[in-house]
């Protein structure tokens, strides 16, 4: 097993006819993901490299049995695309699109959560999800991953690659790597993903990659302490970031005394979570814990 995506994944890409959408959609297919459809309004009947295009997600689901969608549309259509997938009964929605207005996401995320039918939204502004050896939905380079027992959840993209790379180099594979994205209102937070890793028989240990801003890491620490039996190793980027400067991600800003890396590391430490000082050390701790 793995979480969110795997051998049962049937992927529809919203925006498959676009430049980025087709590039990454095809890369995901080459990795072994079952790419069954694309959606672009008005282009039904066309195909991208043999993958049929539909006007609506509902139609794609009815015709192909798609259960997972990847959103690769421009930001102003992002929230709408996510809602369309949710409405069509898609189980896992992975939104790569960056710069969707935060209030669009506040409404969208609450709609999906209050419907309560188990739809998972990952992102937006995220690198996607990979279950090595099974499926890749997003832009994480598959070749740096190896199948194995470590789950990884991260607010960052390339920093995730760095840590995965360090793990793989030490011969430690991953069950699933989840990029939850750097936005202020994410579809899934650390706790949503930690819950799934805790329940996944193929995951033995979790690496959590956080950064400055907000209190998601502090809340995750509490969750780990109270609800998790599997060990968690953490890393927090932005130790040296000055307050009031937004470090790229909309969520990565220290406001006042809140959201500092130090406070996060302290909370994680207090919950019995070992924290690496850099990506290399995270991999070293994982290796040590595996014995």
């Amino acid at each position: 097993m793995s979480i969110l995506i795997g051998t049962d994944t049937k992927l529809v890409v919203q925006g498959l006819t676009g430049r980025e959408g087709s590039f990454h959609g095809k890369r995901n297919r080459d990795y072994g993901t079952d790419l069954v459809a694309g959606v672009t309004p008005g282009k039904s009947g066309e195909d991208v490299d043999g993958v049929p295009i539909f006007d609506t997600v509902a139609e794609a689901v009815a015709e192909t049995g798609a259960n997972t969608s990847m959103v690769f549309v421009p930001p102003r259509f992002g929230a709408d695309a996510i809602l369309e997938s949710a409405d069509a009964g898609i189980e896992v929605i992975i939104a790569i699109t960056e710069n969707i207005p935060a209030m669009d996401m506040a409404r969208t995320v609450n709609y999906i959560r209050t419907r309560g039918n188990g739809t998972s939204l990952i992102g937006p502004n995220c690198p996607g999800v990979i279950s090595p050896g099974k499926a890749n939905v997003g832009i994480i380079p598959g070749e740096i991953c190896e199948p194995g027992p470590v789950g990884l959840v991260s607010r960052s993209g390339t920093l995730t690659y760095q840590i995965v790379h360090e793990l793989t180099q030490r011969g430690i594979g991953q069950s699933t790597c989840v990029g939850i994205g750097g936005d202020p209102i994410p579809g899934s937070n650390f706790i949503d993903i930690l819950e799934k890793f805790e329940a996944d028989p193929d995951t033995d240990m979790v690496a959590l990659v956080g950064e400055i801003g907000g209190d998601a890491e502090e809340r995750a620490a509490e969750f780990v302490k109270e609800k998790m039996t599997k060990p968690v190793v953490a890393y927090i980027a932005g130790v040296t970031a000055p307050p009031g400067k937004r470090m790229g991600h909309a969520g990565a800003i220290i406001s006042g005394s809140k959201g500092t890396a130090e406070a996060k590391m302290e909370a994680l430490g207090a919950a019995g979570i070992r924290v690496g000082r850099n990506p290399t050390e995270v991999a070293e701790i994982v290796q040590e814990l595996r014995g």
């Binding site: 209030m103 960052s156 920093l159 760095q162 907000g214 040296t240 470090m247 991600h249 850099n278 290399t280």
Partner: protein, 383 residues
């Protein structure tokens, strides 16, 4: 994007939030003119985006246009914590009976909206939160439902707002919420919200932060932004599509992805160095962007060494190498550049760097090794 006080109030006024009558002035004469127009006693307020301007002497009362001219002359050009005062807001001064606090913001943890109110206004709210958390009333608002009057009552009664201010506050809160949502703000904060002698409730200050991702549906954002001065280096970076923040050190940093760049700053600092900047070239950067990034970084003469840390996903390391080599050819760069490449086409990129004839171009195997090398070079160590 953080608005100036006068901009924030202008926006709040559009949503019928009561704000004092006022005018913006950029010269002492304009301030006198504004005071004359308003009539009576005025307050002259420095327009800077930093707290503590009152203590720094950036807010002064004036009882005549001549006095307004004098105090505006003192405030304009003042340096408040590194911010030069370019504008003052001249407002009609009123009597203040009480000061409160009220705000709406995005609640990242709860993934909804949060309203906050306190009867302890005019002071740093974070301090109140720490010393007297019960003094702050909080209410969560479902973005799908929006505000209802009971939310306003919950805030007002919860914060213990005095009876004579209740009606005004309960009427004002939904308007402030409408401004928050209507502006696509991530924060609207009024501190202090005041009660006047004639029982009106007025926003005496306004802090508004807008969500730049929503700029496409707000034509006013561009205009509001034009009042903001961006440092030359940051302007140049933005023009070239780079996400750049100036810091104080001497090790220039280039990376792809915000998290990786932040992490790179951290490892440079841990190696004993001081980062000169945060620069994220984003995903899928090509040769030209890399070359431009080096141009922006080395335009700061305080930079003694540069560290390029790239983990290629959609970004191709061969293009990164091409951009770096191009920058050396094009810019006559004198500072050493340590380059660490991994991920997509890294082999190819590394080979290109190795074959490049420039001795100031130093390839490194790992992120930590690269950071150590860059710090050593910035401190004057041999290449």
């Amino acid at each position: 994007m953080d608005l100036f006080e006068y901009q924030g109030k202008e926006q709040l006024r559009k949503f019928e939030v009561p704000v004092p009558e006022g005018r913006v002035a950029t010269t002492a004469d304009e301030a006198a003119e504004a005071a004359r127009g308003l009539g009576g006693r005025v307050v002259v307020k420095a327009q800077v985006q930093v707290g503590g301007r009152g203590k720094a002497g950036g807010i002064k009362l004036a009882s005549s246009p001549d006095e307004a001219k004098d105090v505006a002359g003192q405030i304009l050009g003042m340096d408040i914590k590194g911010h030069t005062v370019k504008r003052v807001l001249v407002e009609r001064a009123g009597d203040i009976v009480s000061e409160y606090y009220v705000a709406f913001l995005l609640d990242r943890s709860e993934r909804n909206y949060l309203g906050m109110m306190s009867a302890k206004g005019g002071v740093d709210i974070e301090e109140v939160a720490e010393t007297d958390p019960d003094a702050i009333a909080r209410v969560h608002i479902d973005p799908l439902l929006g505000i209802s009057d009971f939310h306003a009552r919950k805030l007002v009664f919860g914060a213990g707002i005095e009876p004579r201010a209740r009606k005004g506050a309960i009427a004002m809160i939904p308007k402030l919420y409408n401004a928050f949502v209507g502006l696509d703000a991530s924060l609207v904060e009024v501190n202090p919200l005041i009660l006047t002698g004639d029982d009106r409730v007025v926003a005496l200050d306004a802090k508004v932060t807008l969500d730049e991702s929503a700029e496409y549906r707000h034509p006013t954002f561009a205009e509001l932004k034009s009042a903001h001065e961006v440092p030359e280096q940051e302007r140049l970076a933005k023009e070239k599509g780079l996400n750049f923040i100036k810091l104080d050190g001497d090790v220039g940093i280039i990376g792809n992805g915000a998290g990786l760049v932040m992490s790179t700053l951290d490892v440079v600092k841990a190696a004993g160095g001081e980062p000169a900047n945060f620069l994220d070239v984003g995903g899928g950067a090509g040769a030209e962007l890399l070359s431009n990034a080096l141009e922006v970084i080395t335009s700061d003469k305080g930079v003694k060494a540069v560290l390029v840390n790239i983990f290629g996903g959609i970004t191709r390391c061969d293009l990164v190498a091409e951009g770096i080599i191009d920058a050396f050819d094009r810019l006559n760069m004198q500072v050493p550049v340590v380059v660490r490449l991994d991920g997509t086409n890294a082999e190819q990129g590394r080979k290109m760097l190795q074959e490049a004839p420039n001795e100031r171009l130093i390839p490194a195997e790992t992120m930590l090794g690269a950071a150590e090398k860059a710090v050593e070079l910035a401190h004057g160590g041999g290449a």
